[in-house]
């Protein structure tokens, strides 16, 4: 039997709070995390104003960083390194109690990591001259910066890679991590996902109003930002060291889709269940990425209804958080691990009137108790790609 990948550490920062606990409590209470945001830093044409899910600036500090290093980091790098240290601690790792650094890997999923850094390099180069661009700034403008900074902060010398696939980026990152653990390429993997608000996303979100997941008058999702880091290990090894296992990763499928506008939601859903050896009827919960986008919500409604009908509880956190881009899928995984542990499904904020053109799925305005059983995380994006992750409690 091949090894099972397990989640042993979770930490995150979302528009609802600087931790998993704070985000979870806010979701249960039905709060939303939207504030008016303006792109005022002169990095991009236009002055975008949008309602967005912005991170509060109250993240607990972690003593792993010197001031000098902090100054050199982009916001994504700073978030991922800070949240990563908290996930590491949540997994029970720390000084003198950590896996072999050469067997510790870092995987990051992001849709647009480093974009703000890149725009800053362009601004400085064009307005001050290329010779005045900071040598620290340039590398922060590339997609792999946050993963690199996390590996430096954690001293992780194993495999490293950044993957990017829109909102499904985190599911691909989890796939890589599970591969590393199952094939012995790593003992422990820091799996991160991050995207932050930037001038392009704010401009694209200018017309979005209140998000209405699966709602009749849904008209697009406001942008949101988040950072999530999980620690993934071989389940047997984790138990042997006495670690708490938040959830096991039973199956993952991430597919491109997109031909003739067709979403890969249904095939990804089916493939993840098949890998997990789980029947759709045994699922206790489906965590949807619906955020009020006309087409992706429709694809998810048909995929979910086709698989589990209208009885299995479904929820989406994105009516409260906005579209968290490349952080979406991993954020769902973290929240679903919590839902399984607490046997509780959070409400779906913001739905409004149900869309009569969509098949019914069992979302709710209030929290619900869950029967035991695995859960499935479904994530889609506007290109048609989709991912599904089956989680189960140990």
């Amino acid at each position: 039997m091949s090894p099972t990948a397990a989640v042993t550490g979770i930490a995150l920062a979302s528009p609802l709070g600087g931790s998993l606990d704070a985000t979870w409590e806010a979701l249960l209470a039905g709060r939303t995390g939207f504030t008016p945001c303006t792109a005022t830093d002169g990095l991009y044409p236009g002055d975008a104003k949008a309602t967005a899910g912005a991170l509060a600036d109250d993240l607990p500090d972690v003593p792993a960083f010197g001031r000098k290093r902090l100054r050199a980091l982009s916001r994504e790098s700073l978030l991922v390194s800070r949240v990563g240290m908290l996930a590491w601690q949540d997994a029970g790792f720390g000084p003198g109690k950590a896996p072999d650094p050469e067997e510790t890997a870092v995987v990051l999923g992001t849709a647009a990591g480093g974009l703000t850094g890149y725009l800053q390099v362009m601004r400085d180069g064009l307005t001050l001259g290329p010779e005045l661009v900071s040598p620290y700034a340039g590398p922060q403008g590339s997609l792999n910066a946050a993963a690199s900074d996390l590996s430096i902060a954690a001293g992780a010398q194993g495999s490293i890679v950044t993957v990017t696939a829109g909102r499904c980026s985190g599911a691909h990152a989890l796939t890589v991590a599970a591969d590393y653990v199952r094939t012995g390429q790593a003992q422990a993997v820091l799996v991160a996902a991050v995207d932050v608000l930037d001038p392009l996303r704010l401009a694209a979100g200018e017309r979005a109003g209140t998000p209405r997941p699966f709602g009749a008058d849904r008209a697009g999702a406001p942008p949101g930002e988040a950072a999530v880091v999980l620690v993934v290990e071989d389940a047997a090894r984790a138990r042997a060291r006495g670690a708490r296992v938040h959830a096991e990763i039973a199956g993952v499928s991430a597919l491109r889709g997109g031909a003739d506008g067709a979403s890969a939601a249904a095939p990804a859903f089916a493939a993840a269940l098949a890998e997990a050896g789980v029947a759709a009827g045994d699922l206790s919960l489906v965590c949807s990425s619906a955020a009020g986008d006309p087409l992706t919500d429709r694809a998810e409604a048909f995929a979910v209804h086709g698989a589990v009908g209208s009885g299995t509880p479904v929820h989406s956190p994105f009516g409260a958080l906005g579209d968290c881009a490349g952080a979406t899928a991993l954020l769902q995984v973290a929240l679903t691990a919590r839902a399984l542990a607490d046997r509780c499904a959070p409400p779906t904020a913001g739905r409004g009137a149900a869309d009569p053109d969509l098949p019914a799925v069992a979302i709710s305005d209030g929290p619900r108790d869950l029967a035991g059983g695995p859960a499935l995380v479904l994530t889609t994006d506007t290109y048609g790609q989709a991912s599904a992750v089956v989680l189960r409690t140990p």
Partner: protein
């Protein structure tokens, strides 16, 4: 027992298609002929839209006139390389299960260069803070363009490890096949010229004044280039079943992080050394069986010294035949190690290692067997492809001749 293991063991990954667009050639044959002859593809920028680039020298893909704006050039480079590789593999449009065929492209900047015309106009306008230059709302998706063109709708993503992205994409695509999530993957790398990347290397004082001279005593940095490469990877069984010609086997791959510094390599080449050793271990091949190493060889003082030191640690004082194609190509960023992977496959096929262009006098601190002056004809059975990106992201791949596929190692 052995027969069962052969049937149920991890899938072997083979290369069945190649496609490249580079500053020295835009077909596989043209590229390889120029590489073996040591043709240099870097020089003064000539593109009509190059006026805003903050460097005078670059390696351009000649005769390829897709514009930077909106990401059109990156998308066109990626599509062209992928289409060429697919055609070489005998695949014109995928007709099997669309979800069993995927795309994995390595890139440093994605299609961010497509934002530059709007951003440059904005900052150069007299009133930079009005809204006279509304820009694109997103950089377009490279993977999506390739996936739709070929009908490869399975696992699809881009992979970024800075200058090691091409190798990382090959590694992830191979993991995807080995894990049984796809039968065939288009894997490779793409990056176009951009002001952003030139400003970045300029801020690091890494741009050479004339030529990129790998391992040379007088090397003084790199020249930024553009390009794309794609390889069709598939499981050996899948290739055999459809009767595809196998160019080579992708026998091993690995990555490692320096965990040291964002821009400087680890002083002892820790990540580079471990990446090579782990890739060889994953291939089940001992270092003494390696004939050829396609070096990262960027021509920066620190990379080449540290890489040579790592090569000696892995292979001993008598290293395999080392070459760096970056003397000829310049640094094609996220495409570099994908283009160099194509060269490794061709070196295995033809038994020839191209020379390291622009290398005149070997740096005594880089005391490895660098092929220079002219190509070296020699049996190449095992080739290692090195790629070391900033952020300490390293990735290595190991290619072997197809004749070893199916035989015991």
């Amino acid at each position: 027992m052995a027969a069962m293991a052969a049937q149920t063991g991890p899938a072997r990954v083979v290369v069945t298609g190649l496609g490249v667009l580079t500053p020295i050639g835009t077909t596989v044959a043209g590229f390889w002929d120029a590489a073996v002859r040591g043709v240099v593809g870097t020089g003064p920028l000539t593109r009509p839209d190059a006026a805003d680039f903050p460097a005078a020298l670059a390696g351009e893909v000649a005769g390829f006139d897709a514009p930077r704006a909106g990401g059109e050039r990156s998308l066109a480079l990626a599509r062209a390389a992928a289409a060429a590789a697919a055609a070489d593999a005998g695949i014109h449009r995928w007709t099997g299960d669309p979800y069993r065929a995927g795309v994995c492209l390595g890139t440093l900047l994605g299609s961010r260069a497509g934002l530059e015309p709007a951003v440059t106009g904005f900052h150069r306008a007299a009133d930079a803070h009005g809204a006279p230059y509304p820009g694109p709302r997103a950089a377009p998706d490279l993977t999506d363009a390739v996936a739709r063109e070929l009908g490869f709708l399975g696992p699809g993503l881009a992979v970024a490890t800075a200058c090691a992205s091409g190798n990382s994409a090959l590694a992830h695509a191979a993991d995807t096949i080995r894990a049984g999530r796809a039968d065939v993957m288009i894997a490779g790398g793409v990056d176009e010229l951009s002001s952003g990347i030139m400003m970045m290397f300029s801020s690091l004082r890494s741009l050479a004044p004339d030529f990129l001279r790998p391992f040379d005593r007088d090397r003084a940095g790199l020249i930024v280039s553009e390009g794309a490469a794609a390889l069709v990877l598939e499981s050996y069984e899948h290739a055999r079943r459809r009767g595809a010609h196998v160019h080579a086997e992708l026998a091993g791959w690995a990555s490692a992080s320096d965990a040291h510094h964002m821009t400087a390599p680890h002083p002892q080449g820790s990540g580079a050394r471990r990446s090579m050793l782990r890739a060889l271990k994953s291939a089940g091949i001992s270092p003494d069986r390696v004939d050829h190493v396609s070096a990262h060889g960027t021509g920066t003082p620190s990379n080449d010294r540290v890489e040579a030191q790592a090569l000696r640690e892995v292979f001993g004082p008598r290293t395999p035949a080392v070459t760096s194609l970056k003397g000829a190509l310049g640094h094609t960023q996220g495409a570099a190690s994908a283009i160099e992977a194509v060269a490794c496959v061709l070196a295995l096929r033809d038994g020839v290692v191209p020379p390291t262009a622009n290398l005149v006098e070997l740096d005594p601190e880089c005391d490895v067997d660098v092929v220079r002056g002219r190509a070296r004809e020699m049996p190449v059975r095992v080739a290692v492809n090195n790629a070391f990106g900033f952020g300490g992201n390293t990735a290595c791949t190991v290619f072997t001749r197809p004749s070893t596929a199916g035989s015991a190692r």
